[in-house]
Amino acid sequence: MAERATGRQSILIIGGGASGVVLAAHLLRDPDADIRVTLIEKREAFGQGVAYSTNLPDHVLNVSAFGMSAYADDPEHFFRWLVERGLAEPDNPQIYVPRSLYGEYLREILDRLNEQEKGTGRLHTLNEACQSVATTPSGVEVKLANGTSLVGHIAVLAVGHEEQAPPDHRGAIRPGSTEDTPLPADASVLVLGTGLSMIDLWLSLENRGHSGKIVALSRRGLLPAIHRRGKPIRLDAADVPLGTDLSYFIRWFRRLVRETEDAGGNWRDVVDGIRPFNQRIWQSWPSGAKRRFIEHTRAWWDIHRHRMPPVLHERVSRALAAGELELLPGKLESARKDGDGFTATIRPRHKQEAVTLKVARIYDCTGITTDLSTGSNPIVRSLIERGLARPDPLRIGLDVTPGCAIVNAEGAASTRLFAIGPLTRGTFFEIEAIPDIRTQCSALARRLTEKVA
């Protein structure tokens, strides 16, 4: 409590990607909050993380400009930024801009914060990898790769997406990782996953002039649906069934889609209209419903929820028709190292006989996170090993409270350790996109700064 006597609450944010920067921005929004924020990032650039470090113009945001403001209470912030730079027309907020621009936007927010906080000592940024975090009697201690450590009152994990393929996808690598070295243009490639990450990879390969066959494999082989402008239906929480079994909910959802279509609308209007309640619905479900959703419904939900712009869909359709890209419903049974590449054994869906495929490389675009305790992130692993954290019941992230507090091995919520972003998906379900992350960051910032006041 001695540190509290100085009045200044010290908050260490581990991870300076999109969610880390957005949290810092919300923490510093109140000029009177007596805090000290330290943003720690292992990469050279802040505000990029995995999603926004791409330079490919074809890699566009899949949320329109209005959804992408870093500030929950100022949804037009990003759009204004675009207009000021002549990158968007004032009368067209429904644009999907390249992701690299978004990285630039976040970097500028951080630059501006640094400028604004010069002399106040409220913001510090540090380029260093973190190795572990632990609680101490008076706060937290973060050990850095350079051998030094930082102490503070509160640590927030904003480490984003797992950067390595899960161990059961043996031999597969994640696009953009260090193992992702240039391939011969005619190399045949197997991609695990048929969602938007696969599309991203296909775009990168196509952009490099890749001519080899690309086979994309997933259990059902479903491609993301197309974006169309619509009119999301209006719902209140009082309309939405909560806490029910999955089958009951799905019956309700299907009926609502039917009614909306009968009234001249479209399924997209329901999928988008229900979005404000997604987290509440997820949190209300019994664990059995959550498990069944992940197992059976998620693939179907994802392709309707995370859609492609029409122009992109057209390009993908052409590649499919030309046979450059193939969607294969099925399961990877094994991948055997074979010379420079792999021989993959695949069992196509609803078929008894397996097929083999010789490929130069296997990419993992499944987005599936396997058990965090065996993941590649040393901080998360060290927290779990020490019993300071535990995986959530579905083992898709860390167990956190709806207030983002990390839950320890005994089930107690920490007052010093917090997590935001994809790590919290067990509790928050959809927590990958900015509209959800900024809401989460705004609420956490409010709670953390309230403690100070």
Partner: protein, 149 residues
């Protein structure tokens, strides 16, 4: 607001939440103890089963029990299953909207106010668990007893 169906359903759930964990209750016992017509109760419990709040076993020793702990069942969630969207009047619902014959919904101030009311109703009912409702009742009884002593 709350229909008879909703009220009976909640009473039946309170009854089930008072059973020893895992033990089944006979429909007849629930009906008699709570003064609910048995046929109506059968239908209500069937709907609660479809929504995943209770489990049943058929046969001579058959009956109902809660599908999960009473602390995890929220009153508002049950009411939505039995009575539909929380709405003080039929026009104040977005999914099961029923137009009033006698007014224009765009300018109706009453509807406007009732849309706000349903928010408040959801805020209360979605934050009260079946266990809390059951125990609140007991507290009142205890207080009564204390008072009489």
């Amino acid at each position: 607001m709350l229909t008879k169906k909703g009220k009976y359903g909640l009473k039946a759930l309170v009854h089930l939440s008072g059973m020893p964990v895992g033990q089944l209750a006979f429909v007849n016992d629930i009906a008699v103890a709570n003064n609910i017509p048995k046929k109506f109760l059968d239908a209500i419990l069937g709907e609660l089963r479809n929504a995943g709040f209770v489990q049943s076993r058929k046969g001579k020793d058959g009956g109902y029990r809660l599908a999960r702990p009473a602390a995890e069942i929220k009153i508002g969630h049950v009411v939505r299953v039995l009575d539909g969207p929380l709405a003080p009047i039929p026009c104040a619902s977005r999914t099961q909207y029923q137009r009033c014959e006698d007014c224009d919904e765009a300018t109706c101030q009453v509807r406007h106010m009732m849309l706000e009311v349903r928010q408040a109703v959801a805020d209360v009912l979605d934050n009260r668990s079946l266990a809390a409702m059951r125990d609140a009742d007991n507290d009142d009884v205890l207080q009564d007893i204390k008072y009489h002593i």
